[in-house]
């Protein structure tokens, strides 16, 4: 519903010739924190043995193109149901990987990181995902005469499901992210579309025949759904002039030794399916 505010803002701005300019602004600087990108995604049809975790630090707001990696941390994941431990080793700086991971649906996994003498821990459960039933293109949805890609999947009945869906046009820097829960669609086939609307200011082009879009679809836990909901809402409303104060995003990686030194990012364990679609 935050997009409703966007409409009001758009209405007022576009109607009265308001203008937007990129300007220099001084912003405060918060202490640097650890960022955990621990996404153990098991692609359907593969063994899921190869997984990697990235560790980096946060930066001052306008320096987001640096991405200082975190080296020398110790990273391991334990399957709490089988007791099996997986140790990730650092390859390129900040990149910790393994090729012997064993993903089992429904199992609980625990991540342990030791960095700068502090231990961080997170727990997650591996949820399944439904494969795509159909991927197609059309022009009727959303804006007329604009190409969009439609994806459909079948939600399993009686089970509570949460999903994360990601579209990224190849060649674009920024993706389109969706969080989906099955409260209203339980047991149904569900479709969602993605189109790009032309925006001269930001140099966004509509889809043309020949364009490729990468689609990734994950089955996630309720906790991760809650986290993503806040993250995606904030990402979507970034740049929007009149929105409410955003919520601080605290992931599931808890600092056991110094709780105030929080870690950003999230540890997730998911089943995923992906596709690449080419427009014609």
């Amino acid at each position: 519903m935050k997009t409703v505010h966007l409409y009001i803002a758009l209405a007022c701005i576009s109607l009265l010739g308001a203008c937007t300019d990129v300007i220099e602004v001084d912003v405060p600087e918060a202490p640097i924190r650890l960022v955990v990108e621990a996404s153990l995604d098991w692609e359907q049809g593969t063994t899921g043995n190869e997984q990697s975790i990235q560790l980096r630090t946060s930066t001052p707001y306008f320096q987001n193109q640096d991405n200082p990696p975190v080296s020398g941390a110790s990273v391991e994941v334990v399957n709490l149901d089988t007791g099996e431990t997986f140790i990730f080793t650092e390859g390129t700086p900040g990149n910790y990987s393994i090729d012997t991971f064993v993903p089992i649906l429904g199992n609980r996994y625990q991540l342990d990181i030791l960095y700068n003498g502090e231990r961080y821990r997170a727990t997650e459960t591996l949820f399944p995902v439904s494969p795509f039933t159909e991927i197609s293109q059309s022009t009727e949805e959303g804006e007329d005469d604009v190409l969009e890609v439609n994806v459909s999947f079948q939600d399993p009945e009686t089970m509570a499901n949460w999903y994360y869906l990601r579209f990224q046009a190849r060649g674009d820097l920024l993706p389109e992210l969706y969080y989906i829960e099955d409260e209203f669609i339980d047991g149904n086939e569900f479709s969602i579309f993605y189109e790009k609307i032309e925006d001269e200011d930001q140099n966004i082009q509509e889809f043309q025949p020949g364009d490729v879009v990468d689609i990734q679809f994950y089955g996630i836990s309720e906790d991760y759904y809650n986290y993503l909901q806040l993250l995606i809402d904030q990402f979507d409303s970034a740049g929007e002039p009149f929105s409410a104060t955003p919520v601080p995003l605290v992931g599931n990686c808890i600092n056991l030794d110094n709780p105030d030194n929080i870690a950003y990012g999230y540890f997730r364990v998911t089943e995923k399916t992906s596709a690449a679609y080419t427009f014609n």
């Binding site: 405060p28 707001y61 987001n64 993706p175 930001q202 966004i204 409410a244």
Partner: protein, 798 residues
């Protein structure tokens, strides 16, 4: 009788007399002279004009209906009637019996030559009114100020007064002494107006052609007003020309106005009909724009005099805004009000007014993309009876009652698509009854010392006819330690309230007191205290007031706001009132000021209680106003240095609250607020006007860092409202050309060229942060609404 009981009896009598003035002890008889003051040209009553007995300190000010009543010992006097902008009238009277004297004053602006204020009135009785923290604006002063897009804007003109700020363009509402926009009681002929602007804040709902004058009480709110803690803006419409039929209007770049007024029922009454409409929608369509916006309003008033002691008034207002964004987004909203008033003069000392008022504000939203349709409204009926008793020269008493019945209809949301993140809901209708009874005395304690003291007892009942959620431990939201955010809790049940039930009842005593001490003929000091309660609140969690903001009554989860305001002021006139200086310091605290948790979502939310935390706010400051009242150059300089902050602890929800429970700036905090307005009469044909405003930027929350996750940059945010937008400032100028006209010609016209924001400053209405789509680098984008906007208007009078 025993000696003791005799002396007790005498004590009682003495005490009674002492309380009601020295006058009653004297052997001399007192008589009363009363009447109504009107404008000679059009019969409009004059509010706030001075009536006094020359050479004495006996005097009074006319009330909203032009009525005055003066009681003095028998004798011969010269009665002086005086009002700024009009020529004084002197009448010799022989006060040997009660008498009635109605007077007409002639406006000086109707004269072709400047009329000197007669030197014959050196001993003006300076009325030591203990009224303070009040600004009275003549509509003629407002009309001289430069305008934006050709429309004279009453609300924008308030911003050049000290202690009053606004959020800039694109934002409705105004802020008084660091208070929120919903803390201002805005009345149009006593009817409550809920949204004071058209087109999201670009224009005000008041058509200047229909307005007679306005008074803004920034503090020291008189006991007859209740229901809001920051201020009262009392706008009065013109009654209509009782002498002649007249037409006034204007043609502007975006909108036009036309007002017709004239006598009714012979010379026993008059009427006024004024309309205004934008043709912005037509212009935009012609320009090929798929988006349109427009507004219109209609002001109506009629009055009828039933004999000498009775007068009836019927007023109405209807205004509407419409937005259409490429047919996929449609919004329409507006105020409507009507009232019937009966002035009754019981005798020459007791004046009364009975009003029956209806007020409605509704908005409608239609979004195709979400396939959402939303209707919402707030409606009230108000019955009030106000009396004023001019007991003696030293003592005046006001008293009365008021009751308002509210119906809040937060609306029904109908989504059609399953992906809509909005749940289909009929939000509960809420009903309430707000009543008040007050008594207030204006008491001249001595020649130099005047006091005003009164009390208002207010009562609020939140009525049933809906059901309310019940939460475990009475916690609609709870702090989650691990996620470090406030989470909404699911209700464990519901309680049904029948229409005759009461969900909650509140009652408050609101004492109001002020004291004025005349230091000498030219200066005085005043101090005041007032307590006010506010029972209905506008929930708005964005920086800008939008039509989607919801009015909510106090009840089980929201407590009434209670404020205490203390003020101390120094007032001085120079050079026989040519210049005046007003300085005031104030301190105001408000209990039960709610604020919204991070990420709160108010739209379509039936359970607002899950988004709010209860706290308190305080504001304090120094206001400074220096005016030049007479001469070809008039205007003023205003400066306010102030602070407005709030604190919101966790309360029953636990946790640290907002900003860790520490004080933080409210969105209305403006450290420095400087404004200047000037009007210069260059010649008979030309006059110039200018406005200059400088305000410290609005408090905002900036990001304090970022990190990459899932290929995108995620911002982390600093303390709430700890940063500021760049300072807001602009200069507006205007030039008015009145072609020479022969005095016998009825048609009078003038051209007004106005330039808003002359040096084209892009004042930031908002600054937003996000990634550049092409480079991925984070950048800050400033949204500014208006750059330089010239406009040309032709105004006419017939």
């Amino acid at each position: 009788m025993t000696t003791l009981s005799k002396s007790i009896k005498r004590w009682h009598i003495l005490f009674f007399f002492a309380l009601f003035g020295v006058q009653l002890l004297s052997a001399q008889q007192n008589f009363t002279i009363s009447g109504t003051l009107t404008d000679q040209q059009n019969g409009e009553t004059l509010f706030g004009s001075t009536v006094f007995l020359k050479g004495t300190t006996i005097g009074v000010v006319t009330n909203e209906y032009g009525f005055y009543s003066l009681t003095a010992p028998a004798g011969k006097y010269t009665l002086v009637f005086s009002y700024l902008g009009y020529q004084d009238v002197l009448r010799d009277i022989d006060l040997s019996q009660n008498q009635k004297l109605d007077i007409e004053l002639q406006s000086t602006s109707y004269q072709l030559t400047e009329v000197e204020v007669t030197a014959e009135e050196p001993e003006r009785a300076i009325l030591r009114k203990p009224e303070m923290s009040v600004s009275k604006l003549n509509i003629s002063t407002v009309k001289q100020m430069p305008v934006v897009l050709g429309e004279v804007d009453v609300i924008k003109s308030l911003q050049v007064l000290p202690g009053v700020t606004a959020n800039g363009e694109g934002s409705a509402g105004f802020h008084v002494r660091g208070g929120a926009a919903d803390q201002n009681l805005v009345l149009l002929d006593e009817a409550i107006i809920y949204n004071t602007s058209h087109l999201l804040g670009f224009f005000s709902v008041f058509n200047a052609d229909a307005v007679k004058d306005l008074k803004l009480y920034k503090g020291g709110i008189p006991a007859r007003f209740g229901g809001r803690v920051s201020s009262v803006l009392d706008v009065r419409q013109k009654d209509g020309n009782r002498k002649n039929f007249a037409l006034t209007g204007g043609i502007g770049v975006i909108s036009s106005r036309l007002a017709a007024e004239g006598p009714l029922f012979g010379d026993k009454g008059s009427f006024l009909v004024a309309g205004r409409s934008s043709y912005l929608d037509v212009l935009l369509k012609l320009a090929g724009e798929k988006n349109t916006a427009g507004f219109y309003d209609l002001n109506l008033k009629a009055n009828y005099e039933l004999g000498e002691k009775n007068r009836l008034f019927l007023s109405g207002y209807f205004g509407r805004d419409n937005f259409n964004l490429e047919d996929s987004f449609n919004s329409s909203y507006g105020n409507a009000s009507g009232n019937l008033r009966w002035n009754h003069i019981f005798n020459d000392r007791l004046f009364s007014n009975l009003s029956l008022i209806y007020s409605n504000y509704d908005y409608n939203l239609d979004i195709d993309d979400f396939e959402l349709d939303w209707d919402s409204s707030i409606r009230n009926f108000n019955l009030k009876y106000d009396l004023k008793y001019y007991l003696s020269d030293r003592f005046k008493l006001d008293f009365g009652v008021s009751t308002i019945s509210y119906l809040f209809n937060p609306g029904e949301i109908r989504p059609t698509s399953e992906t809509s993140s909005v749940n289909p809901l009929k939000l509960d209708e809420k009903r309430a009854l707000e009543s008040g009874v007050y008594v207030n005395a204006e008491h001249k304690l001595s020649d130099r010392l005047t006091a005003q003291y009164g009390i208002r007892l207010s009562h609020f009942m939140r009525l049933g006819g809906q059901s309310l959620s019940v939460y475990e431990n009475n916690q609609p939201l709870v702090y989650d330690e691990t996620r470090r955010i406030y989470l909404r809790t699911e209700p464990i049940g519901e309680t049904d309230f029948a229409k005759s039930d009461r969900i909650a009842t509140f009652q408050n005593f609101e004492p109001r007191a002020a004291l004025a001490y005349q230091l000498n003929d030219n200066s005085s000091i005043k101090l005041g205290y007032s307590r006010a309660a506010q029972y209905i609140h506008l929930l708005s969690n964005t920086a800008s007031v939008t039509p989607l903001d919801v009015w909510a009554p106090s009840g089980k989860f929201i407590e009434p706001q209670l404020s205490n305001q203390y003020a101390l002021g120094y007032f001085r006139n120079f050079k026989d009132k040519m210049y005046s200086l007003e300085m005031e310091v104030y301190y105001k605290d408000v209990d039960n000021r709610i604020d919204y948790i991070d990420g709160s979502d108010l739209i379509g939310n039936n359970t607002i209680e899950t988004e709010i935390l209860n706290g308190e706010s305080r504001a304090y400051g120094l206001e400074f106003l220096f005016r030049k009242n007479e001469g070809p150059l008039t205007g003023w300089l205003a400066y306010t240095l102030s602070k407005s902050e709030q604190r919101t602890p966790g309360g029953i929800a636990g946790g640290p609250g907002i900003n860790d429970g520490a004080w933080y700036n409210t969105p209305f905090d403006r450290t420095h607020d400087f404004s200047m307005t000037a009007a210069y009469r260059l010649s008979d044909k030309w006059s110039l006007g200018a406005n200059a405003i400088f305000q410290t930027g609005r408090p905002v929350t900036y990001p304090n860092g970022q990190y990459e996750y899932e290929g995108v940059s995620i911002a982390s945010f600093g303390l709430r409202n700890a940063d500021r937008l760049p300072a807001y400032h602009r200069l507006d100028v205007s030039a008015t050309y009145r072609p020479t006209r022969r005095p016998d010609k009825r048609w009078k016209g003038e051209w007004v060229l106005s330039i808003y924001n002359v040096y084209n400053r892009k004042n930031a209405a908002a600054i937003s942060f996000g990634q550049n789509f092409e480079t991925g680098a984070n950048e800050a984008t400033r949204t500014a609404i208006f750059g330089m906007v010239p406009s040309l208007t032709y105004n006419f009078k017939f």
